[in-house]
């Protein structure tokens, strides 16, 4: 069975976390990371790798240039997209597609901006009041 050797009080060489991980709620999924499944949370999230599955966060969602996200549900506060997204985006804040964004799906948010160069195919839904002269709300 198990040979168990406890080097009590082992050297602490490797103990220190390598990054400044104390930035609170921030979560970063690096470029080489692939996730298949559901991601949820209260904090901000940066996706630089590839995600297949739903993403629901209360904070801001940032999708990096090399990132690829395929999901049925993408919910966050502000959403900034520089990479590839297939699926609907439902933001409680602003949605911003950067110049390198490639998005297929519907966008919903309080504000939506699409930079020059971004590729987008889908519907936009931003709640705002049209002036009465233009027929009011839909």
């Amino acid at each position: 069975m198990a040979a168990l050797m406890a080097h009590a009080k082992a050297s602490h060489r490797h103990v220190a976390p390598r990054t400044s991980s104390r930035s609170g709620d921030a979560a970063v999924l690096g470029a080489s990371v692939r996730i298949r499944g559901r991601i949820s949370g209260d904090g901000d999230l940066s996706i630089l790798g590839s995600v297949e599955g739903d993403v629901v966060v209360r904070g801001d969602l940032n999708i990096g240039e090399a990132a690829k996200v395929e999901s049925e549900i993408l919910e966050a506060h502000a959403v900034t997209i520089a990479g590839e997204v297939i699926g609907d985006v439902n933001a409680s804040g602003a949605v911003r597609l950067g110049p390198t964004a490639r998005v297929r799906g519907d966008l919903k948010g309080t504000e939506i901006s699409i930079d020059e160069g971004a590729q987008f195919s889908g519907r936009l839904e931003a709640d705002f009041e049209l002036p009465a002269s233009l027929g009011g709300k839909r």
């Binding site: 009590a8 082992a10 390598r18 979560a27 690096g30 470029a31 996730i35 949370g41 904090g43 630089l48």
Partner: protein, 104 residues
Amino acid sequence: MASTVIGANITIEGEVIADEDVIVQGTIRGKLVAKDGVTVEAGAVIEADVSGGPMTVAGQITGNVTSTDRVELQSGARVVGNVKAARITIADGAHFKGNVDMDV
């Protein structure tokens, strides 16, 4: 500096595959496969099999742990599952239930 941090308020249900260092402060249910180091910080909860390079555990793991290098269970760590690693240290104050396989 391109390491992955799964923050304290993040829950991942599913499979996480990483070619780089992973720091877990939040919750993972499913599976975690890393090519490089894995750091499970205090407060983190992993209900998954974990494999990777050198691992430092101060949080909670329920599942089997496999490392190509070393596994360090720090004080406060709570691991229920089997550990397979070339080297292992269990600090005073770490909780561990399971088998250790050092491939002697």
